[in-house]
Structure formats: structure tokens, C-alpha cells
């Protein structure tokens, strides 16, 4: 009885997602609050983007002014430069590998901690939680030696794999509650239906904890996209640089071309934004209706 109910309840979950398409306008108050919030959030960003259309001199003499005249050469130069797109590609590769790695490994180990019963469960969780308390900055010197011994210096994997490792603590901490929250009923129902523990894992646990999985994927991607310290130490040749390192192009030996930096970084934040925009729709209820017995 419970089995059919349980599986029947999943169907509404999927149609719930389709039903989720917003149909009505909300309370104007909500929109007002949202507007205030968005203006506050975006004002500095707009300043940064507009800064790319000015010259350094303009920024010094008229800090709060609008571009006058509008200088589009910075943006155009960046878009035309081969190095920008090369770095763009590298950043994309590293971020994708990191995200997939973190999600894959993170979900697997979180599942173990959340739903299996064994002696060392607490210790395993504490291991990852402890990792949260160390910033990358301090481990970088010995970490570099490990990376070198693995032969991964000046290699994009030498950036991606440590990023996976350092991304695991947050991932585990976020995912364990989501995976725990799936009621035992469903697991039992699946077992009665003949699914193994692993089967339950792939076919039901992961989809049901999708909000959590998507959240950690987003965090991992953005963390990797913006990471500066690790690529700085690991990557040597220009051809391998990721976007954050590319900012260095616009700093001469003693100075920084602020306007160009603003243009460059405005453009480099677009992919992370896109990734988020696409995936945030998936942070939708997975447990809707999964409960009734």
C-alpha cells in the first residue's frame, strides 16, 4: 500500500515542477521590497560595469560621475583579445570539472554519512567539518608540494582536484541534512519494491534532494570561477591561465589600469551569472507530496 502511494506521490512532484510556472502577479508590497533590495545589490555592480567605460583619469577627477565621454575601447579590446577567450576556456574547464567532482564525490559521501549506520559515521562527518576551519591560504605551501609530486603543476587538473577537495566540507555540511530528510518510509517502500540501497540512492535520493544538490553545485562553480590563489601558485604558462589571473595583464609593474580591470572583470562575471540563472530554477521542491502514507 505504502509502496504504491509513495511512488504515486512522486508523480505529482514532477508535475508540481511544471505547475511551478508562476501564474499570478504577487502582492505589490513584495515587488517593492524586491525592488529596493535589487537596487541596493546592483548599484555597486552598475558602478563597476560603468567604470569600464571610463578612463582612469575620469575616475580620479570625477569619482561619482557617469562616463563622459563613453570609452568603449576597454570592453572591445577585451572581447577581441585571444588571451581573454583562452582564459575563458580554461576557467570553464576547471570550473566544470570541479563542480562535477565536488557534486559527485560530495553526494556519495554525504549519502553514506546520512543514511548508513556504522561505527565511524560521526568521525567521518567530523573529518569533513574540520576541513571547513582551515582557509586555503595557510595550506598552500605544503599543498603545492603535494601537487608537484602528483605531477600536476601547470596543469588545469592541478587546480581542479584541490578545489574539489577544499569544496567537500561545505558540500557535506549542506547535503547531509537534505539526504537525511528523506523519510525512511520511502526507503523501505523502495526496498520492498526490490531496489537496492544503491538503487534507491540513484533513482530517488538524489532527485529528492535536488535543491541541496543544485545549491552545492552553484556554490562549487562560483567558488572555482573566482578562485585566484590556487591558480596563481599552480599555473605557470600564460596559455593555462584562468580568468582571475588574467586581471594581472592590466597591471603594469607598478600600477593598475583600473578602468581596464573593471571592464575585464565585468565581462568575466557573466558566465558564473549565467550558470546560476540557468540552474536556480531547479531549486524546487523535491519532497512535495512524498509523505502521505
Amino acid at each position: 500500500m505504502s509502496a504504491t502511494t509513495a511512488s504515486a506521490r512522486l508523480a505529482p512532484a514532477r508535475s508540481a515542477r511544471r505547475r511551478d510556472k508562476p501564474q499570478k502577479w504577487g502582492n505589490p508590497f513584495v515587488y517593492l521590497v524586491a525592488l529596493l533590495l535589487i537596487s541596493g545589490s546592483l548599484a555597486p555592480v552598475v558602478y563597476i560595469v560603468l567604470g569600464g567605460f571610463r578612463t582612469n583619469s575620469q575616475i580620479t577627477t570625477s569619482p561619482a560621475g557617469l562616463p563622459n565621454p563613453w570609452v568603449s575601447s576597454h570592453y572591445i579590446d577585451v572581447l577581441n583579445s585571444v588571451t581573454f577567450w583562452g582564459e575563458f576556456g580554461n576557467s570553464t574547464i576547471v570550473a566544470t570539472v570541479s563542480t562535477i567532482g565536488v557534486v559527485l564525490l560530495g553526494v556519495m559521501v554525504s549519502y553514506v554519512i546520512a543514511r548508513y549506520d556504522f561505527k565511524l559515521k560521526g568521525a567521518m562527518y567530523s573529518l569533513f567539518a574540520a576541513g571547513l576551519m582551515f582557509p586555503l591560504v595557510i595550506a598552500i605551501t605544503p599543498l603545492y608540494i603535494v601537487i608537484k609530486d602528483l605531477g600536476l603543476v601547470d596543469n588545469l587538473l592541478g587546480v581542479a582536484i584541490p578545489q574539489i577537495a577544499f569544496g567537500l566540507p561545505t558540500t557535506v555540511i549542506i547535503l547531509v541534512p537534505f539526504l537525511r530528510a528523506i523519510p525512511k518510509d520511502i526507503e523501505e517502500a523502495a526496498a520492498i519494491d526490490g531496489a537496492s540501497r544503491l538503487g534507491f540512492f540513484f533513482r530517488m535520493a538524489v532527485p529528492l534532494s535536488l535543491p541541496g544538490v543544485v545549491t552545492v553545485a552553484i556554490l562549487a562553480f562560483i567558488g572555482s570561477w573566482n578562485n585566484f590563489v590556487l591558480p596563481l601558485y599552480v599555473l605557470n604558462s600564460q596559455a593555462n591561465y584562468t580568468l582571475p589571473l588574467g586581471v594581472q595583464q592590466f597591471a603594469s609593474q607598478y600600477s593598475t589600469d583600473t578602468a581596464r580591470v573593471l571592464a575585464f572583470t565585468s565581462l568575466s562575471m557573466l558566465p558564473a551569472l549565467l550558470f546560476f540563472a540557468v540552474f536556480q530554477r531547479r531549486i524546487v521542491g523535491g519532497l512535495t507530496g512524498a509523505v502521505k502514507g
Binding site: T55, N56, S57, Q58, I59, T60, T61, P63, G89, N90, I93, V94, T96, V97, I100, G101, L104, I140, T141, Y144, I145, K148, G151, L152, V153, D154, N155, L156, L157, A160, L198, G199, F202, R203, L232, Y233, N236, S237, Q238, A239, N240, Q248, Q249, A251, S252, Q253, Y254, S255, T256, D257, T258, A259, V261
Partner: protein, 433 residues
Amino acid sequence: MMKKTRTAAIAALGLGLALAASACAGGGSSSGGGQSSGGQVTLSFWTNATPGPGLTFFHNAAKTYHTLHPNVTINIQSIQNESFDGKLQTALNSNSAPDMFLQRGGGKMQAMVNAGQLQPLNLTATDQSNVSPAAISTDSIDGKVYAIPMDTLPEGIFYSKDLFSRAGIAAPPTTIPELEADVAKLKAIKVAPIAVGAKDAWPAAHWYYYFALRECSQATMNATAKSLNFSDPCWTKAGDDLSSFLKVNPFEQGFLTTSAQQGAGSSAGLVANHKAAMELMGNWDPGVISTLTPNQKPLPDLGWFPFPAVPGGQGDPSAMMGGSGGYSVSAHAPKEAFGFLEFLLTKDQQQAYGKAFISIPVNKAAQGIVTSSYEISSLQAFNKAAYTMQFLDTVYGQNVGNAMNTAVVNLLAGKGTSAGIVSATNAAAAKGA
């Protein structure tokens, strides 16, 4: 079974991506340790020159050298200045040091020598004619040479001739009281008299260094380098000088939040846009300023005068402080590495260097390329100086230097005293070497 297919698919995807990534990646080129194979030698060269005429110079030099010595290939790698030291240190410690690299000198060089990471260099007679013993002395320890200097970067006060004449200042000041009087005149025409990037500490600290250079005798300063004990009263007196100089409000508004060189909003930017009249800086400043002017060309009315004399100081009023950019050879690099550095010292290369970096090449024969008025002024002062010292945070090592810089900023922020500078630098010794 569905789940197995999905697992396999995910695994394959991940593996495929990983393979693609490593294929696309630059093939993990070796970052250090020149390789020789059958006479072919490949060397690595790390510099903090970033894309522009400076980096182009190094690429051209490597190419020319390759034409002269076809068996030697040199890879020039550029690393941004602020990131340079950390990256270099990591490479040195993990036995993947570059063959040639920028050397800051002073305490950092001492530490590298102590760890056996540098090769002592044997200069031939030709080399010694290319670079004078005085220039080499800053890159030597106990008589052994550990780096080859490329240029000299004497420090003095850059100023705007236009703003000076508008304020009614006929000639640059030669003593501190005269400087203070000029400060008042510039305030009258509503211009910040002196720009300083105190957020980065060292620009403010350089005022302290120079007051110390004027107050302390050369013997005292050299002795302190060995003992790292700042008990001589001249150190406190220098702090007092800085405090009383502060009383005339010579710096721009908000100097604590102004950086030195970080583009727009920096102290160099203020000078470039005629919002400030003076700045105490080394010879790299004109280059920085030229990127921040409205038309992004060098500032046409830029002038230079040496740091004024302090009445009653034990230091020689003509003494100068300056940095130098030199290159070291790592301990296990092949002999061809030194050959390239010797090549960079020759007159033609030095002339090209001076043009590219707008600095004063260390080879006297090449110094004829110096043409702008401020460069000529600084070169003359440099050649006339009784003695020169490197910047104190280089001479006294990173640990003490950092503490000194911090204490100076505290003084400027109203939270420290001149006695505080002395006690901070003495305390720093306990935390490090």
C-alpha cells in the same frame, strides 16, 4: 539496469572531461631547473615586468641571445609584482625553482643565501667594467655576488612645475623648513601639497626612512642592519621629525585610504591629474603617472628634486635612498643562465632596458639614453650622493621592515608615537629572525 547505465554515463563524462582538460592544458611544462639534452639548454626566467615595453624587452633579449647562442632557449615568464614573492618562495622550497629570477635583495636575499638557494656569481673583468663595484655592492653578501643589478631607482620628490609656479614657488625647497613653507603656499591655491598612498604603508614609511637617513649617520645605519637593534636616539628623532612634519597637514585628504599605485584613486593618480603637487617616490613613478593622465601620456611638467636636508642631522644631506632591480641565479641552474645575465649587462641591452622601463640603466656607458628633465636631475643627484642605501624594509629584512611600516602608519593615524616605531621594530625580532 538503469542505474548502472547512469553511473557509467556519469563516470564516462567525468573521465572524458578530465582527459580533455589535461589535453587542453599546456602539457605541464617544467617550471624550473634548466634542462640540458645533447647540448640543448632550456632556461626559465621569472620577472615582474608585465605586458608592455618592459616585458617585450625581455622577450627580444631572449630572442637575440638565442641567435647568438643557438643551443640556448630562454622562457620568459611574467608574474605580477604583488604575487611574485609568494610564488617564487613556493617554487624555491619545492625544488622547482626558476633558473633566473628577480631578486629584491636585502634580508630576503640573505634568507635565500642561508638556505643555499642561490648561486654565487663570478664576474669577469668585462662584467665589472659594465657595472660598477658600488652598484654590485648592494647585491653582495660577505664579498660574494648573488645578483646582477639591471638598473638603479633613486628616490626623490616628483613635483608639478605648473602647480609650483601657480603657487608662487620659485625654486624647489632644499631644507625641510622650506618644504613646509611651500606646503602652505600650495594649500593657498587649493591643491593637495603632497600625495601619499598610506594605505599601502610603504609610501608613508619612505618618509620615515628618509628622515632616518638624514638623522642617522651611515655607520649607525649599517650597524643596525647587523644588530637589528634600534636603540640609537637618531631613530626616535626621525620619528619626531615625521610627527612635527605631520602637524602642517602636508598630505592629501583621506591619505590613509589612498593606495600608491592602484590606478585611479591612487596617489600617483592625484599627481597625474594635478590634484596634488608632490610625491616622494622612486624612478618608476613617471611611468605609473603616465598611465593615469587624461590623455595617458607622460605628464609634461613633471620635475624632480632630492629629499631636502634636515637641520642638525648626522646623515649627509646628499645621501640618497633607492631600490634596484637585480636578477639572481638559482643554485642548480646551468652555467648558461649566468651567461644570459652577463649579456643583459652589455651596453646595447642596457640601453634598450633603460628605454623600455624608463629607468636609469646600471651600465654607465648606457646612461646616455636618459633624456627627460626629471631623469637627468635624479641621475645627477645619484652620481653626486655621498652614499646610497636601499630602502630600509629591504635592508632590514621583511620582518622588521613590515613592523616598521605598520608602526609608521599607526603614527600617521594618530595611534602611535615615534617611540612606538622603535619598540615595534625591536619587538618584531622576537617573532622572526
